[in-house]
Amino acid sequence: MKDQLEQIRSRALAELADDAAEAAIENVRVRVLGRSGELTEIMRRMREVPPEERPAIGQLVNQIKAELEARIEVLQGRLREAALERELAAARLDVTLPGAHLPRGRLHPVTQTIEEMLHIFRAMGFEIAATRDVEDDFHNFAALNFPPDHPAREMQDTFFIGGGLLLRTHTSNGQIRVMEARRPPLAVVCPGNCYRRDELSVRASPMFSQIEGFMVDRAGKITMAHLKGVLTEFLRAFFGAGTAVRFRASFFPFTEPSAEVDISCLLCAGKGCRVCKQSGWTEILGSGMIHPNVFRAVGYDPAEFQGFAFGLGVERTALLKLGVEDMRLFFENDLRFLNQFQATVERLA
């Protein structure tokens, strides 16, 4: 019986050669290891073996069984691998073909510019307040120290909508609305749309956005020096650390002293070019110390409080930063323009 087992083993191993086919392997498995296979047959005939030899034979059977099973596993594993290889080879794609696309939204460049600016202002401690587009004369003009019939009103050609209402010509109404409702200290920026009677053109739009900002505290605590510090820091954060900033005296009815703020021309870095009319500077925003009459209009005592305010046109600034010159691009919504902007609300550093 031992010889017989040895025979079964060597025959099976011979058939389980390295290049054995799937069918041959299966054949061996069924014939030797199957339910009615040769090894099962041996076990069934164990009664014929003298009892003292039975453990040795049994052990031998298990040993052969394990050996053959291991061998079959190895061979089958190899075959599976080979089959997989063939399959993978057959399934090779042209990976340069386009993927199945979902549409991708883009954020409007004006929104992006506003978000980027507000991001900086928030980091500088400003809160962000919402204000209204439809205003009355008081909040858009009178409280901002534009007397009736004063020529300063003509700096801003106004849309009227009846009922004593108008569309705000600047976001400066935000100053009045916020100060009417609250007491200093205040550090607030108000973004929003403004309206002026200009045809849509390369340089102007009847609707555009501004960001108004102001900081008010006890008299002497917020000075012109702080106005310069805050705006310089903001402009360097927005346009780059190397940006030069210049303050020029100017006039706005609601600030005194007033200052126009210029930055070094982005195109020529201050050397002088066509865009900056050879001056090396670009006008970027208006600012000043809040006029005492504005404080009086909101019921603050100008002897008690003091602060600065500024206003910044978003579209114009965005054009400067993007290096394009046509305001209409922002309102035509040409996808070939819009698709060039990133698709995220958050500012990428």
């Binding site: 909508i161 009922g163 000075t223 303050f247 005194e256 002293p257 005492p292």
Partner: protein, 817 residues
């Protein structure tokens, strides 16, 4: 304001070139927008006196002239002009002079073509050392009948200089608060203060009245409206000969941007430009009763101004009248009925102060702006009236031969107030954030013409009368800062104000979240202008029932209303892109819409709207794309709602007849949250789509973002822990009436509040086949779960059977076999 540098230099001497002057002015708030260099276009032409004129020996029409060019010597010149005579002052082009190549009109461009240098010539046998020039030869005008005759000039001096032909013109933007800078003198004062040099005001020659023949012209001036006109000064002049002004004067006016008219008018304009005081000349003989009455128009309803137009008056307009009628619109324009003309021999010069508001109101109402009204509106020097009359009288005497016909009549109905501003010791430092010594403050303010005196620690500053803008310490701080230079103020970062954390307005946060969702859904943000055509508002009335807002003064009919909805803007953007190569358009906008309430208030509210047209998911090799339709846009709307804080649950309600008329009646819905209509979704009406030239369905949605915010910002819900025991799904196909909305089926099941039923979800709708024609089969997935144990089959089966039984009863549903 255009400022010729040569004129400026008469009043101030600065050791700086024009670029430095321009930079300094700009930094100080007097912005120089442009520098224009002008030149004569000729050189080596000098002033010469004609000493002797003889007939040319060989030609009848030519003369032989001897001219005296002062230090340059005497020359012999052949001249063909009929007007040449001995004793006249003329323009002499020396040998070597360069004249203009072509024949040009008046005025000088920056670059002029020049002819080659003039050479000595022999004309009909006589040598000519140069030539005497006509205006045309000098490019001053087209005049070529004779040679130019000058009214004065030092022989031998350069003609271009004498006539102000070589100059630089500074184009200056004057801010509305600086009326005082609307004159050469005012700008000279500004420059003197900036450069720390002395101002030399123009000479005031006393009136020459001694040659006046005694019959003083009787003039009466009366101010009936002292509130609108505190001061009126007048001067009669007689013996005036109206004619063209001399070249130098015309040239100055032209450089300053004004047109020359005639000597008297030009002289008044010249003095206005020089001193900032607008002047007016009446033909005295046309003033009834020899009277000037400054009064409100009252019952006078109309008058004709100098430009020939009839102007309607209102009772409050300030006019200058004679005994009968208005003869000028005060401070705006003179009247045609008293205009100075060629026949005028006696004039009355007006020099007055009119209140800025009255001039501004009248000028604006009539749409009539003049150099005078421009200055009055901004406030002129209330003390400069008499000085200006002296100045203009001396010029008129010089250029038109007129002389004063009586003394100046000066009526001061209301003297200007003296404005004193008290400066506490630290007042300016507190505003500017930098310490400025008292002495410096005092020096700088004095340089502007202010009076400054010390009173203990304080400075008492008397504002100059021509600076009405200086009324309080902040104004003086500005003056000191801009004269010192804003660069001298350090930049400092404030302590963070103790205003609390830098919060952001919740509507902005909400809009930002909304944008993120839209971008994720593949929609691109657009921005459209809030003005819209009435037809668009009618077609797309949006959400809300307020009244449409019309713009009182729109740019055009197409932009005459405020939008009620963002959808027209999205459609316009879509059309723009479809006309430019785009095949699909998926976009959104967040913006404000405007309507009036019943109470007349005009609330604005925020909207979010989206549009989806064309291929949404793009086709790839071997797989089809997805074309946007109702379910695409509804899916986006639902994704949006699900993404909002609080994930408000919405009902989609089909529109009643006539509602949402711009949408497909069968593929549109109101979106209701908590019973309120917050939006809508649907495909554009096929008729509209066809009209727009679309080749397939176009989905749109719109939400009232302001109202959504109310839901979105509600209390945050408690967090539910993920279940620990598995759920069991049982599917169910119910055959229900075809008209029953899927939502109603799901809601009916949810409302059964079955104990173990966690959720129900629709996964299929089937019609036709074995289903009766008026029925449909809805496939529903039911999820059962207990929080505390794994459910047994038996429990689930019992619960499901219960559900089916109730659905049958409640919905009249049958189980699909």
């Amino acid at each position: 304001m255009k400022l010729p540098l040569g004129w400026l230099r008469e009043f101030v001497t600065v050791d700086a070139d024009v670029d430095a002057i321009a930079r300094r002015l700009t930094a100080a708030g007097v912005e120089v927008e442009n520098l224009e260099r002008v030149n004569a276009g000729f050189s080596d032409v000098v002033i010469a006196r004609v000493l002797d004129v003889q007939r040319h020996p060989n030609a009848d029409r030519l003369s032989l002239c001897e001219v005296d060019a002062g230090p340059l010597g005497r020359f012999s010149v052949v001249c063909g002009a009929p007007n040449v005579r001995s004793g006249m002052t003329a323009a002499y082009a020396r040998v070597g002079a360069r004249l203009r190549a072509g024949v040009h009109g008046a005025g000088g461009a920056a670059t002029v073509e020049q002819a080659p240098p003039l050479q000595a010539a022999v004309i009909r046998g006589v040598k000519s050392d140069g030539m005497l020039c006509s205006e045309r030869e000098l490019g001053l005008s087209d005049e070529h009948q004779g040679i130019l005759e000058l009214d004065a000039g030092e022989p031998g001096s350069d003609l271009a200089t004498a006539l102000h032909l070589d100059d630089v013109v500074l184009d200056i933007a004057i801010t509305p608060n600086r009326g005082d800078c609307l004159s050469v003198l005012g700008l000279a004062r500004e420059i003197a203060a900036l450069f720390g040099v002395k101002l030399k005001p123009p000479p005031i020659t006393p009136l020459v009245t001694d040659n006046h023949r005694g019959e003083a012209v009787a003039v009466a001036v009366e101010i009936e409206a002292p509130d609108l006109c505190p001061r009126y000064a007048a001067l009669p002049m007689e013996g005036v000969k109206i004619g063209p002004s001399p070249i130098w004067l015309r040239r100055r006016l032209e450089l300053a941007g004004m047109r020359a008219v005639s000597n008297v008018v030009d002289a008044t304009n010249y003095v206005m430009l020089e001193l900032g005081q607008p002047l007016h000349a009446f033909d005295f003989t046309k003033l009834a009763g020899g009277r000037i009455v400054v009064r409100r128009a009252g019952n006078d309803r109309a008058m004709t101004t100098l430009d020939g137009l009839e102007r309607a008056l209102i009772a409050d307009d300030l006019v200058i009248a004679d005994a009968d009628k208005p003869v000028a619109l005060a401070g705006v324009m003179g009247g045609g009925n008293s205009e100075v003309g060629g026949e005028t021999g006696t004039i009355l010069l007006e020099s007055a102060y009119f209140e800025p508001m009255t001039v501004a109101r009248t000028a604006r109402r009539l749409g009539l702006r003049s150099e005078a009204s421009y200055r009055f509106e901004r406030g002129i020097d209330p003390t400069g009236q008499v000085r200006a009359l002296h100045r203009v009288a001396s010029i008129i005497t010089r250029i038109s031969g007129g002389r004063a016909a009586g003394p100046i009549i000066d009526v001061e109905a209301r003297p200007p107030e003296l404005r004193e501003i008290t400066l506490e010791p630290d007042a300016i430092t507190k505003i500017l954030g930098v310490r400025i010594p008292r002495a410096e403050i005092s020096r700088r303010l004095k340089s502007l013409g202010a009076g400054v005196r010390s009173e203990r620690q304080r400075l008492i500053v008397t504002a100059p009368p021509f600076r009405p803008d200086l009324t309080e310490p902040a104004d003086l701080a500005e003056e000191v800062a801009r004269l010192k230079g804003l660069d001298e103020i350090p930049a400092a970062v404030p302590e963070r104000p103790s205003a609390g954390p830098a919060v952001e307005d919740s509507s902005r946060v909400f809009a930002r979240v909304s944008r993120e969702v839209m971008l994720g859904c593949g929609l691109t943000e657009i921005k459209s202008i809030a003005f819209i055509a009435p037809a668009d508002n009618q077609a797309y009335p949006g959400i809300g029932t307020g009244q449409t807002i019309c713009v009182t003064n729109p740019l055009s009919a197409e932009l005459s209303e405020m939008r009620r909805s963002l959808v027209p803007g999205l459609i316009a953007a879509m059309r723009f892109n479809l006309n430019r190569e785009a095949a699909a358009f998926h976009a959104f906008e967040i913006g404000r819409v405007f309507m009036t309430n019943g109470d007349g208030s005009a609330p604005e509210s925020e909207r979010i709207a989206g549009i989806s047209y064309g291929e949404y998911a793009l086709a790839a090799i071997g797989r089809p794309g997805v074309t946007a339709d109702f379910f695409t846009i509804k899916g986006i709307a639902e994704t949006y709602l699900r993404s909002l804080p609080g994930a408000p649950r919405a009902d989609f309600v089909p529109p009643a007849a006539g509602e949402l008329a711009f949408l497909h009646p069968g593929k549109s819905a109101h979106i209701r949250i908590d019973g309120r209509r917050l939006g809508y979704v649907g495909e554009l009406h096929p008729g509209e789509a066809m009209h727009l030239g679309l080749g397939g369905p176009c989905g749109v949605f719109e939400f009232d973002l302001t109202m959504l915010l109310a839901f979105g910002s509600s209390e945050r819900r408690a967090i539910e822990l993920p279940p620990r025991f598995p759920a069991v799904r049982r599917d169910l196909a119910l055959v229900v009436d075809r008209g029953l909305a899927a939502d109603d089926v799901l809601r009916a099941i949810s409302e059964m509040k079955l104990n173990l039923l966690e959720s129900v979800r629709l996964f299929d709708v089937y019609e036709g086949g074995s289903i009766p024609p008026d029925k449909k089969s809805v496939g529903i997935a039911c999820l059962y779960r207990a929080r505390d144990r794994t459910l047994t089959d038996g429990e689930v089966n019992r619960a499901h059977a219960d559900l089916i039984e109730r659905a049958r009863a409640r919905l009249g549903a049958e189980l699909r076999q």
